[in-house]
Symmetry: C2
Subunit: 432 residues, 2 copies
C-alpha cells in the first residue's frame, strides 16, 4: 500500500475509525507511517494523535511542522490537547502553546498533576444560568455541539461559577420548552475537587454510574468536567500499573519501550530481589553446620520458601483488591487477620499432612524427627506468611504506598527470610 499510492490510502483511511487507523499505522515501518500521517486530512490526523501509544506519538510529533501541529491540536478537546502537549519536549510545547485557540484553557490544564481530577478533566462543557428556559438551553447546546464531542448533560451555574444543578439531555428533551431550567434540574450533584486522585475519581464515577462528572475548584466554582471514556482508560491503566507493580516492573512499562528503557525499569526490583535472596542465602549459610550434619534438610528449602510465598501472595491479593475497590476498610484489619489465620490453619493442616505422608512413604532421613520438623515448620510458616500477606497491604496503605507493592518482590523476599529462619530453627531444635 505504501508505494506512494496517496489517493488509494486516503480512500481506504476515510472508511476507518481513528482507533483502527492508529493500529494500522503502528504496524507500518516508522518512515512509512509518518508519510501516511502527513497525507491525512487534519480532522482524521488529530484523532489519530490521541489513539497512538505515548512513544509512537512522541516520535511522530518530532516530524511535524509547528503550523500543522497547531491546527491538529486546535481540533482536539482541551483535555486531549493538554495530553498531547505534555508529550512534547518543553521547547516544542512552548512554541505551539501561545498560538492555540484555547491557549488559556490548555495552559490551565497543564498546571494540574496528570494523576489528578484536574489532569483528566476537559474545560469544555455547556453551562447555563438557572433562570434560562429549556428552549434557551437547547439553543446553547446547539451552539456548542460542533466544538464539544460528548454532551451528556448541561450544568446549571449561578453567580461566581457556583454549580447549582445538572440536567441530562434526556430530561432536557422531555420537559416543556418554556419551563425555566431551575425547575427541571437535579440539585443533588456529585462533584469532585481538582486535586482528587484520578483513581478515586474513577471509583466515584463507577460507584454512582455517572457518565459525566463536574470538577470544582477550592471555592466551589465549576472549572471542568470528566467524561466516562476518560475514566475507562484510567481504570485500565491503574489495573495495568497494579499488575506491573506486583510483578516487580516499573508500573509504566509499555510493550514498545526500548530494550534499554525496559532493562532500567526492571533492574531496581531485581536488585532488591538479589539483595533479599542474598540474605536468605546467608540464613542458610548460618546453618551450614546443621546442613553438613544432614544434607537432606536442603531438599526442603524450595518447599518452605514456595509455600510461604504462595500463601502470602494469596492473602495479600484479596486485601489489595478490597482496599482498592473500597470493599475493605482500614479498620477491617483485625477481622481480616483473624479470618486469614483461620484459612491458614485449615490449608496448613492439609498441606502438612500431605507433605508428611510423602516423607513417610519415601522414608528419607530419620523419618519421625523429619516429619515433626516439617509439620511444625509448615504450620508456623503458613500462619506467619498468611498474616504478613494480610497485614502488609494495610501497612503500605497507611504509609501512603500503593498496597499492590505487597505482592511484589520485596515482601516475597522478606517471607523467604522469615520462612527459612523458622525452618532451620525447628530443624536445629528437633532434628539435630
Amino acid at each position: 500500500v505504501e508505494a506512494g499510492q496517496r489517493g488509494m490510502v486516503l480512500n481506504l483511511a476515510a472508511d476507518l475509525h481513528p482507533a483502527d487507523l492508529a493500529l494500522l499505522m503502528a504496524r507500518l515501518p516508522t518512515e512509512q507511517s509518518h508519510t501516511a500521517f502527513s497525507w491525512l486530512p487534519d480532522a482524521q490526523a488529530s484523532e489519530i494523535l490521541l489513539e497512538l501509544s505515548d512513544s509512537q506519538r512522541r516520535d511522530l510529533l518530532h516530524t511535524l511542522q509547528p503550523e500543522r501541529l497547531r491546527r491538529l491540536i486546535d481540533a482536539l478537546d482541551t483535555d486531549d490537547a493538554a495530553d498531547v502537549l505534555s508529550d512534547m519536549s518543553d521547547a516544542q510545547a512552548l512554541h505551539v502553546l501561545p498560538d492555540l485557540a484555547d491557549t488559556h484553557d490548555v495552559a490551565a490544564l497543564l498546571e494540574y498533576d496528570e494523576e489528578s481530577a484536574g489532569g483528566i478533566m476537559a474545560r469544555e462543557f455547556v453551562s447555563v444560568p438557572p433562570e434560562w428556559t429549556l428552549e434557551h438551553v437547547i439553543e446553547a447546546v446547539r451552539q456548542h455541539a460542533s466544538d464539544i464531542d460528548d454532551i451528556y448533560a448541561v450544568f446549571v451555574v449561578g453567580a461566581n461559577d457556583q454549580l447549582e444543578g445538572v440536567v441530562s439531555l434526556k430530561d432536557l428533551m422531555l420537559a416543556p420548552a418554556d419551563r425555566p431550567v431551575r425547575t427541571v434540574m437535579d440539585r443533588d450533584v456529585i462533584t469532585v475537587g481538582t486535586d482528587m486522585d484520578r483513581e478515586e475519581v474513577a471509583r466515584i464515577m463507577e460507584r454512582y454510574d455517572l457518565v459525566s462528572l463536574p470538577v470544582v475548584d477550592a471555592t466551589g466554582g465549576m472549572v471542568g468536567r470528566i467524561t466516562i471514556d476518560d475514566v475507562v482508560d484510567v481504570i485500565r491503566e491503574e489495573a495495568e500499573e497494579d499488575i506491573q507493580i506486583m510483578s516487580g516492573g516499573s508500573g509504566i512499562e509499555q510493550p514498545d519501550d526500548t530494550v534499554w528503557a525496559v532493562s532500567r525499569g526492571r533492574l531496581p526490583w531485581l536488585l532488591v530481589g538479589l539483595f533479599g535472596a542474598g540474605l536468605s542465602g546467608s540464613v542458610i549459610g548460618g546453618f551450614e553446620v546443621a546442613l553438613e550434619q544432614a544434607v537432606v534438610l536442603a531438599t526442603f528449602i524450595p518447599i518452605v520458601t514456595a509455600m510461604g510465598g504462595n500463601v502470602a501472595v494469596q492473602s495479600a491479593a484479596i486485601a489489595v483488591q478490597g482496599l482498592s475497590s473500597g470493599d475493605i476498610w482500614m479498620d477491617d484489619l483485625g477481622r481480616r487477620i483473624l479470618k486469614e489465620m483461620g484459612v491458614a490453619l485449615l490449608n496448613g493442616i492439609v498441606l502438612s499432612l500431605l507433605l508428611c505422608s510423602a516423607v513417610a512413604v519415601l522414608n528419607v532421613g530419620h523419618v519421625q524427627l523429619l516429619i515433626a520438623t516439617l509439620a511444625s515448620t509448615m504450620l508456623t510458616v503458613i500462619l506467619v506468611a498468611t498474616t504478613n500477606g494480610a497485614l502488609v497491604p494495610f501497612a503500605l496503605k497507611w504509609l501512603g504506598i500503593d498496597p499492590a507493592s505487597a505482592m511484589g518482590p520485596f515482601v516475597t523476599t522478606l517471607n523467604d527470610i522469615i520462612g527459612l529462619s523458622i525452618y532451620f530453627m525447628y530443624a536445629t531444635l528437633i532434628y539435630l
Copy 2:
C-alpha cells in the same frame, strides 16, 4: 440507629444514594440490615439489591416474601433483573419468574452465558423505523423515559429487526424536527454478537469510546444493548480476576466469603505449588552427593530461584498486559522474545557482576570456581526464565487459557525446577 426508629432511618435513607446505603447496610449486623431493608420503599430497595455484594444479596433474598421480591425485580431493568434472579436458588427463581412483568425478556437473558455480551446486555432500548420524523422519535423517547434508566441513543431498525443506524440524543435534539430519522442517523454502527466474550465487548467500547453498544443475534436482528456502566464493572472485575489468578487465588474470591470457601478456593494452587516445590526439592536431592562435598552451594539456592522467578514474572507481566489490551498480537511472539532476551542479557550481566563481586569480597569456598559457576548460572537462568516468561502467555492464549495464569504458581514453580537443574549442572561441571 437500629433501635427500632423506623421513621428516623427512612428519613436518613431518603437523602442517600443507593450505593452509599448498600455500603451502610453491609456494615450493619445481618439481622439489623434485613430489618432496615424491609422498611425501605420498593424503589430504593430495588436499587440497593443491585449494589450489594453477591453473598450479601443471596442472604437477603432468602428473607424476602415472593410478592415483595416480584415487585422489587419488576422495578429493575431486565439485565439487572436477570442478574438478581441468577443469584437465587433455582426453586426461588422459578417461583418468581413467571409473575414478572417482563417474564419473557428476563427469561431470554437468563439463557445467555453470564460472561458473554448476551449476559450483560439489557433488553430495554428505544428503536424506531427509519421513516419516522424526529418529532415522532422524540415522542417515542418520552414514552420510554420512565422505564429505561439511561437513554444515550435511539436505534433505527428496519424489517426483521435489522439495525440500520443510530442517532445520539444530541443529534436528535439539534436537527429540525420534521426530518425523517433516516437522514440524520449514523449508518456506521458498531455492533457485537450475543456470544462475544464480555472482555472483548469491554475492549471494543473502550477502544471506540462508546457509551452504548447494540447487540445483534445470528441473523443480524437487534436484541439488546450494553451501556458503559456495565462495561466499567466488567473491566474492574476482569482486572481483579487477573490479579487473583496471578496470585494463585480462585479468581472469584470475595472479601466477605467464608473461611471455608476461601480455603477451598486457594487450596488447589497450593497443592500444585507443593507438588512443584517437591520436584524442586528432588532436584536438590538428586545432587545430594554434590552438596555433601560443598555445603556452600546450598547458600545460593534462594538466589537462583528468586532471580529466575523475578525475571520470568516481569517479562510475563508485559506480555499478559499487552495481549489483554490488544497492544500485542499473537504474531509478535518472535519479536517479543528477541527483545526480552536483550533485556535479560543486560540485566543478567549487571546482576552477575554484582553477585560475583559480593562473593569475591566475602571470599567463600573456592572463590574462583564458585564465581565461574555462579556467573554461568545467573546468565543462563535469567535468559531461560525471561524467555519462558515471554513465551508462556502466548502459549496459554493459543491453548485458550487465560494468559494471566502465566504469572501464577505453576509457571513460577516450573522456573524453580529448571533454574535449580541448571545450577547444579554447572556446579557439578565447574565447581566439583
